[in-house]
């Protein structure tokens, strides 16, 4: 009978003092009807149980000895935690159900047992699913599968891991006809896109619970014009921590986390237990912090997005977000960490780090109140992930290209995949897809007389399985703490290589909440000692910054527009904006305000685009190129999340010409091809597509022999076959991500004919924060490696007598190899 809970479930619910929620019953109905379904519910809504309930009921009615339900989550820890939570009802009701987890950490003997004696419910990750699908027994193992549950699907859709999952599920549907798919998601801006990703026949949405209580807290002292660390507010943050049980202090970058952690400990007079959590710390260290949180042994954790997702830590009383939230959805995700029950409001405090961020925080608070969500619709699936998937299928059993294509386009991210792209990817997997037919004897797949493709050898398959996955780590150096002469010591975490290049022996840097003295680099490890002195350096990480979402950018722009409502803003900020009105004008909602003014011996141009830092960076490069051609002699530019500032020797004129739509032409191509950004993107693509293998049978010993520098491959490939499928995949990735070309194009077209140029005699109030950034973050228009090297050489030559033979200048030495 629909609408009620069968026994023994009804009794068990009653024993818990629960009554089934409407969406839990609706999920049961959907299962009875054999429908795939997307469940959208806020945190704490009993979402996971709702996802599993139909499977538990089904297995109670009809017991099975085969795998019945597969649960896929983005986090290993989440899979383990859910398994533990599910055990309780299963044991209480004595259901004949075995539950197991399978991740990269599962030992080999347990994996083998899971194959021979399958559990009815298996909890896993997209990567482990891909490995399972690549084995020859996949058709048997998944043949009886009735249901796939995809958890936190909003966090996966639109990412490469999401592409991998969607492709995996497209294969599962084929292996197990009649398979039901269930997606569990937080509230999102594009529910239809997520429903398509899941392949849902219907969507069940649960209304959000009590809206969170979000307030803003400004530092007592001066409100920074341009800083973005927010350290000035440390005393107030400390006071809030002392007043609450357990606090998560979220910050936006790892560098900021290190600094905030230090700032808090400096004033932590009552030595409250405060910990640090970010993605570069050693994984064991992070697990320890998480365990201490769960056990209630901490009062506060300073964290980056490393704590955004994941299991419910419980007992979090408040969330403090330091620095601008960058997006409404992101803010809600973080705020939700302090929420254990959906009928209770979560509490959060925003601490803007500068004046502009006050506007962003206010816009975010208004966005939350208006129940807005942001985020772009998921982009099309990556061709590199497709390459990995195709080889995985062939490793399981011979494949027919027509059949595989028909199957792949049932995965939402690949629904519009042209056959030509598919064939190019397939050719790449077969023999590299090079114009030069050089690898016939080493092709990975061969065709039989019926047109089926077979893997050439078991070795190719073994290699492939070792390299499955779409998370590519940057080349990192371990940070090792050493004592005395010995090289043995604990690993604290990892640093990017470029940062290590900035350190000289004796330099102090801040990492893992400690002050460390750099000793040397030895065998891919940065060796250091406790207790440096002097001004410490703080490692930054590429791509560590989140750009402002379009939605929030619009919110900030709108906030600037609303006359007379500045009373919602703190007085200091309102005054600042009023001054701007008097001296210049406000950026309009649909126009583009560009101010130019002289200062010292230069001209400055500030464009209020509000398109996010990535887009501004690209735009800055394009516009300075054009200014160069028009003879304005641009000298450099700085890009923030809100504005683009350019300075030049001559007065900029004909501003509309500078922002014309044809800007995104050849210049972008030429600049891109050489940029380190594209090389990084290529590296990811090459690793995911299997061109470069991370792991090799034989392990660590031969690692050096099998790694090859992806930059060198990129250079050669670009020169000899610029339209190769991997280069096409690279450009597509970069355009949607770091370059943000789409956002620039949209802006240029929107502001056409609506550029408001204010010629000022001096800097405007709104432009002050940008001017303060100059020198700290500026990018030269020709900011390439050659220019940087020439500058470094000139600076050192100036400081020394460069005619003296080098080996006589030991005091100026750059390198030491002790």
């Amino acid at each position: 009978m629909p609408g009620t809970l069968p026994e023994p479930f009804a009794t068990w619910f009653a024993a818990q003092g629960w009554s089934p929620r409407p969406h839990q019953l609706a999920m049961l109905d959907a299962a009875r009807a054999g429908e795939s379904v997307l469940l959208i519910a806020p945190t704490g809504g009993g979402k996971t149980l709702a996802g599993f309930l139909p499977s538990l009921v089904g297995l109670h009615t009809t017991s099975s000895e085969r795998l019945h339900t597969l649960y896929v989550s983005p986090l290993k820890a989440l899979a383990t935690d859910i398994a533990r939570n599910l055990m309780r009802p299963v044991e209480d009701m004595r259901l004949p159900i075995r539950i197991e987890t399978r991740t990269g950490d599962t030992p080999a003997n347990r994996r083998a047992r899971q194959k021979s004696i399958p559990s009815q419910i298996l909890l896993t990750t997209p990567e482990s699913l891909a490995v399972l699908l690549s084995s020859a027994d996949a058709p048997v193992f998944f043949g009886g599968l009735a249901c796939v549950v995809m958890d936190e699907v909003h966090a996966l859709a639109g990412t490469k891991r999401g592409d991998q999952l969607a492709l995996g599920v497209s294969r599962l549907r084929r292996l197990a006809p009649g398979l039901r798919c269930v997606g569990l998601s937080a509230t999102v801006a594009h529910p239809q896109a997520i429903a398509a990703f899941v392949g849902a026949d219907r969507t069940i949405a649960v209304a959000d619970g009590a809206p969170p209580t979000i307030s803003m807290m400004l530092p007592d002292g001066e409100l920074s014009w341009a800083g973005h660390m927010g350290l000035e507010a440390a005393p107030q943050i400390m006071a809030r921590i002392a007043d609450a049980g357990m606090t998560i202090v979220f910050v936006n970058t790892r560098a900021q986390a290190e600094l905030m952690f230090q700032a808090l400990w400096k004033i932590n007079d009552s030595t409250l237990p405060i910990a640090l959590h970010h993605g570069s710390l050693e994984i064991e260290q992070r697990r320890k912090v998480e365990a201490a949180m769960s056990a209630g042994r901490l009062r506060a954790v300073v964290a980056t997005s490393s704590l955004d997702l994941g299991i419910d830590w419980g007992g979090v009383d408040q969330v403090i977000q330091v620095g601008a939230p960058k997006g409404v959805s992101r803010l809600l995700q973080r705020v939700g960490r302090s929420n254990h029950r959906m009928d209770e409001a979560s509490r959060a405090i925003l601490v803007p780090a500068n004046r502009f961020e006050v506007l962003e925080c206010e816009a975010a608070i208004m966005g939350v109140a208006a129940r807005e969500r942001d985020g772009d619709p998921p982009r099309p699936g990556g061709l590199d992930v497709l390459a990995q998937h195709i080889l995985g299928l062939a490793c399981s059993a011979p494949i027919l290209p027509d059949e595989v294509y028909a199957e792949v386009v049932t995965a939402a991210p690949y629904a519009d995949l042209p056959r030509r792209d598919f064939d190019d990817v397939l050719a790449y997997v077969e023999h590299g897809g090079y114009a030069l037919a050089a690898y016939d004897q080493w092709r990975k797949l061969f065709r039989d007389s019926e047109g089926r493709l077979h893997v050439r050898s078991a070795r190719i398959a073994a290699q492939h399985r070792m390299n499955i996955g779409t998370i590519v780590e940057a080349p990192l150096l371990k940070v090792r703490l050493v004592a005395g002469k010995s090289r043995i010591g604990p690993v604290l975490g990892e640093l990017e290589e470029y940062f290590a290049g900035l350190l000289s022996p004796g330099d102090t840097f801040m990492f893992a909440g400690r002050l460390l003295k750099f000793l040397r680099i030895h065998e891919m490890a940065v060796e250091c000692q406790e207790g440096g002195s002097g001004d410490p350096m703080v490692p930054a990480y590429e791509g560590g910054r989140m750009p402002l979402t379009t939605n929030l950018a619009d919110g900030v722009r709108a906030l600037l527009q609303i006359a007379g409502r500045y009373d919602v803003l703190p007085e200091r900020v309102a005054e600042w904006l009023q001054m701007q009105r008097n001296v210049s004008r406000m950026p309009g909602r649909n126009d583009l305000l560009v101010e130019t003014f002289p200062r010292d011996d230069r001209w400055y141009m500030v464009a209020y685009c509000f398109e996010g830092r990535n887009a501004h960076q690209t735009l800055g490069m394009l516009i300075t190129k054009r200014m160069e051609r028009l003879g304005m002699a641009p000298l450099g530019f700085v890009a923030t999340d809100y504005v683009l500032g350019i300075w030049s020797a001559h007065q900029p004129h004909d501003i509309a010409r500078l922002f014309e739509e044809d800007l995104l032409g050849d210049d972008l191509e030429a600049w891109l091809a050489d940029s380190s950004m594209l090389k990084r993107t290529f590296r990811n693509v090459a690793v995911i597509a299997g061109l470069i293998q991370r792991n090799h049978p034989g392990g660590e010993k031969t690692r050096k022999a099998v790694t090859v520098n992806s930059d060198l491959i990129y250079n050669v490939l670009r020169q000899h076959q610029p339209d190769h499928i991997l280069l096409r995949a690279t450009r597509a990735d970069a355009a949607s991500g770091l370059i943000d070309a789409g956002r620039i194009a949209a802006m240029l077209s929107r502001v056409k004919g609506r550029i408001v140029h204010m010629v000022l005699s001096r800097v405007s109030p709104l432009a002050v924060p940008v001017l303060l950034q100059i020198g700290r973050e500026s990018v030269r228009s020709d900011d390439n490696e050659e220019a940087l090297l020439a500058e470094a050489e000139a600076i050192i030559a100036e400081a020394t007598d460069s005619d003296t033979p080098a080996w006589a200048q030991q005091e100026m030495a750059l390198y030491s190899a002790s």
Binding site: Y434, I713, P805, A806
Partner: protein, 224 residues
């Protein structure tokens, strides 16, 4: 393209930004660690790297030959990525290589990757090549007599610049020795701070980073 002069053993040598070393007085060009056919060596093991590396490397060698018109060319070892490398050369590239080795005196110094003379590509093979005050060998010998020109380690240097650091292949030299950067299109590098390189320059030296049109020169601290 601007080459940088250095003086060793009373002779003037030119360092070319493309990674070649020229001894003008003798009409000699040296290149090191070409690692030809590295692409096919990886392909054999299941990594189908773009097969254009030999072509790219020979293109660059061609540029050096046109610029300097040497009468002697010395390849400082590891010219092929493995023993069978020369046999895997595509017909076109083999022909090109034969033309090069036929047009001048071409000396293959043997290296650890290619310990036997390469098959069917012309030229002469030696363990070391001595000329005037210089000894051209693949791997440096500690305490060698002044005038040693070596390869093997693929030196690269990381230079701190404004806000970031830049890493490039480089020459390393002191008053006695020049260590050459790897010339092959797919050859990576080892940081000059690594003890394997640093201990060969106990009194410090100078690094010359390869640039588009010129070299960038920096001091290097003494190694231990």
């Amino acid at each position: 393209m601007t080459a940088a002069p250095i003086h060793i053993a009373g002779e003037r040598l030119m360092l070319d930004p493309q990674g070649g070393l020229v001894w003008p007085a003798a009409g000699l060009l040296a290149v090191s660690d070409l690692h030809l056919e590295k692409g096919t060596a990886f392909a054999r093991r299941g990594m189908l790297l773009p097969p254009f590396d030999t072509q790219a490397t020979l293109d660059r060698l061609h540029g050096l030959l046109r610029r300097w018109r040497p009468s002697i060319v010395v390849a400082l070892g590891d010219s092929f990525h493995d023993r069978e490398g020369a046999e895997r050369l595509p017909a076109g590239e083999r022909e090109r290589l034969n033309q090069i080795t036929g047009n001048c005196r071409f000396v293959w110094v043997l290296g650890n990757h290619d310990p036997a003379p390469p098959f069917g590509v012309g030229g002469e093979s030696v363990a070391e090549f001595a000329a005037g005050p210089f000894t051209f060998r693949h791997e440096a010998v500690p305490n060698a007599a002044p005038g040693e020109i070596v390869g093997h380690h693929h030196p690269k240097a990381m230079v701190p610049t404004r806000g970031t650091s830049v890493s490039r292949p480089c020459f390393v030299s002191d008053a006695r020795r020049v260590m050459m950067p790897a010339f092959g299109a797919y050859t990576g590098g080892l940081d000059v701070r690594d003890p394997a390189i640093a201990r060969l320059f106990p009194r410090g030296g100078r690094v010359f980073l390869l640039g588009k049109d010129r070299l960038y020169s920096f001091a290097m601290a003494p190694g231990r």
